[in-house]
């Protein structure tokens, strides 16, 4: 594995990153022509311009993280087909978020000239405090997730190419910060599309070589049946408890509809035909990826025949598989897939985190004081904010915390607890009010983080069940306790029949 570095593995990656940065510059040039009108809208949301295909790809790519490509299939290797059964619940993620929130936020954002999810929350609940809290939660959890993505990607890079962790981080980490900073949301969407396509290519490539290295499909299956019969049962001899199925439905299926990085994509598309197309394409792509990569993980038993301990944990299964089965000349191509999963998630989060600081905090303050910052100033500040957040996360990934899976899940569940009821009830229930939203977001997230931090579980279920229930109860409590929102505000969100 550490053969001093595989130069052939480096070249495709360098080329790919160069293309990504090229896209960033191209977008900046193209957008510079239509400049001046509304820079913030252009930089953070791409001018409501995305077509169906790009919308689907960027939603999927942002949603699919490096753990879906490394930790996930590693678990599939250990558990078997029950893991795919669980992972397939993610086919709901795309059509749910686009189907439930897609048109709602598209219309509202145009009405209020909103660029972020926080903008809409601010308008709905008429609360700067709530908006600031939401922006804070977004920045905090996004930074944690981005760090985990950087760490996961760089570890994979080091394990597969033989070069150092730091070099990997420098290589793809700086690239993602650069292209996101210069190109903004539009560049994120386009690069995400490239990333999603290359992820699928990577899966097919790896599957092909795993099959041939393992002596063909029939042979692989016969060995699996003989040596690991439990892998063909849903509960995998207790390795895959029923509770896990339930909580995964909540955690990576249903509640993902409230993730701000997904919901914001509802602001970005061009017309409803694009949205409809994206629901279908997105569902097809997310299903292909989840089934494909986890199936590959299981088949890797044909090449990694020892116990898990021999490989030092599930996170090492996929890197080891790539190194073992891929011809050295193609290793570079195979590793771009998982790295794409990492950078496409980082870019999507980075631009939203930056928008939270510039649009939700800075610009809002300026407007309140009656100031209107010039386009030039906004441009510099927006790019600076993106670059600084990117670099801070990059630096924190240099001394990496362990267990990427858990950090990632911590942030994931935290965001869901914070935003699920506030968005769902806020946008579809007239009665929902500020106090309810406040209690739900603050209290729910606190309960989730405390129980997660202390390792407290109810009936052995993941803390998301506690978090999401507490969040709902707080919401209802606040809503019935506090007073309804102002009728004029509600009339904008819930129009009356015209006579």
């Amino acid at each position: 594995m550490s053969n001093g570095g595989n130069l052939a593995a480096l070249l495709p990656l360098l080329l790919f990153m160069a293309i990504m940065i090229g896209i960033g510059f191209y977008v900046q040039q193209a957008q510079a022509r239509g400049f001046g009108r509304n820079f913030v809208q252009q930089y953070f949301i791409g001018n409501h311009d995305l077509g169906g295909f790009v919308l689907a790809m960027t939603t999927v790519a942002t949603y699919s993280s490096v753990s879906s490509f490394v930790g996930g299939p590693g678990m599939a290797w250990q558990i078997g087909f029950g893991w795919i059964y669980m992972a397939v619940v993610q086919v709901t993620a795309i059509f749910l978020v686009l189907g439930i929130f897609g048109k709602r936020v598209a219309l509202l954002s145009r009405k209020f000239d909103a660029v972020t999810v926080v903008d809409i929350i601010r308008e709905r609940f008429q609360s700067d405090g709530l908006a600031s809290l939401a922006a804070f939660i977004i920045v905090l959890f996004f930074c944690a997730t981005m760090t985990a993505q950087f760490v996961g990607g760089a570890k994979l890079f080091a394990a597969v190419t033989g070069y150092s962790y730091e070099m990997g981080l420098l290589l793809f980490g700086l690239a993602v910060v650069v292209y996101t900073t210069i190109g903004g949301f539009r560049a994120v969407a386009l690069t995400d599309t490239c990333c999603a396509l290359i992820m699928m290519v990577g899966i097919v490539l790896l599957l092909y070589y795993v099959l041939s290295a393992g002596g063909g499909y029939t042979n692989l299956m016969a060995n699996l049946h003989a040596n690991h019969p439990e892998m063909f049962t849903p509960f995998s001899d207790g390795h895959m408890p029923a509770g896990l199925y339930l909580t995964q439905w909540i955690l990576v299926g249903i509640c993902t509809i409230a993730l701000p990085q997904s919901v914001v994509r509802g602001i970005s598309y061009k017309d409803t035909a694009s949205l409809h197309k994206a629901m279908l394409i997105g569902t097809a792509v997310v299903g292909f990826m989840n089934i494909g990569i986890n199936f590959t993980g299981i088949l890797a038993h044909g090449v990694l025949t020892e116990d898990l301990a021999a490989y030092g944990g599930v996170d090492n299964i996929i890197p080891r598989t790539i190194v073992t089965v891929m011809p050295p000349a193609l290793v570079g191509l195979a590793i771009i897939g998982p790295l794409s999963a990492s950078i496409s998630t980082i870019s999507g989060l980075l631009i939203v985190a930056s928008s939270a600081i510039i649009k939700d905090v800075y610009l809002h303050r300026a407007h309140k004081q009656g100031k209107e910052p010039g386009t030039r100033q906004l441009r510099v500040l927006s790019m600076l904010a993106t670059a600084i957040i990117g670099l801070v996360v990059f630096m924190s990934a240099l001394t990496p915390p362990s267990l990427i899976w858990i950090i990632n899940m911590f942030a994931f569940g935290g965001l869901e607890t914070a935003f699920f009821w506030m968005l769902l009830l806020g946008l579809f229930w007239r009665r929902a009010n500020k106090l309810g939203a406040f209690l739900s977001m603050g209290g729910g997230t606190l309960v989730y983080c405390l129980t997660q931090g202390l390792g407290f579980k109810l009936m052995g279920l993941h803390q998301i069940t506690i978090g999401i229930t507490a969040s709902l109860l707080f919401f209802l409590l606040g809503t019935y306790w506090g007073k309804p929102q102002d009728e004029r505000v509600l009339a904008k969100f819930f129009p009356y029949r015209e006579n």
Partner: protein
């Protein structure tokens, strides 16, 4: 569509999307746990393995197709000028 009609339509779409989720969950339970006792094999895999992975995926695609065909409607995302000045 007027603003009110759009909102009604969006509510309808959201509700049916939720319903599709419910149907998918039921199918998922049946396709995996429900069929895990069946002895039949496809491509060397137990039946439930196929139905609970590719089966669920295809079923989701069919559901989305149905939603798009029968529930979702195209609408303009910008407001008609004039009918939304501050009242």
């Amino acid at each position: 569509m007027t603003e009110w009609e759009k909102y009604q339509q969006i509510r309808r779409e959201a509700a049916y999307t939720g319903l599709a989720l419910l149907v998918l969950i039921l199918f998922w339970c049946w396709a995996g746990f429900g069929l895990s006792g069946v002895e039949m094999e496809i491509f060397g895999l137990p039946l439930w393995v196929v139905t609970s992975s590719i089966g669920v995926w295809f079923f989701a695609l069919v559901l989305v197709q149905l939603l798009l065909k029968y529930v979702f409607r195209d609408m303009s995302l910008t407001e008609k000028k004039g009918d939304d000045e501050d009242e």
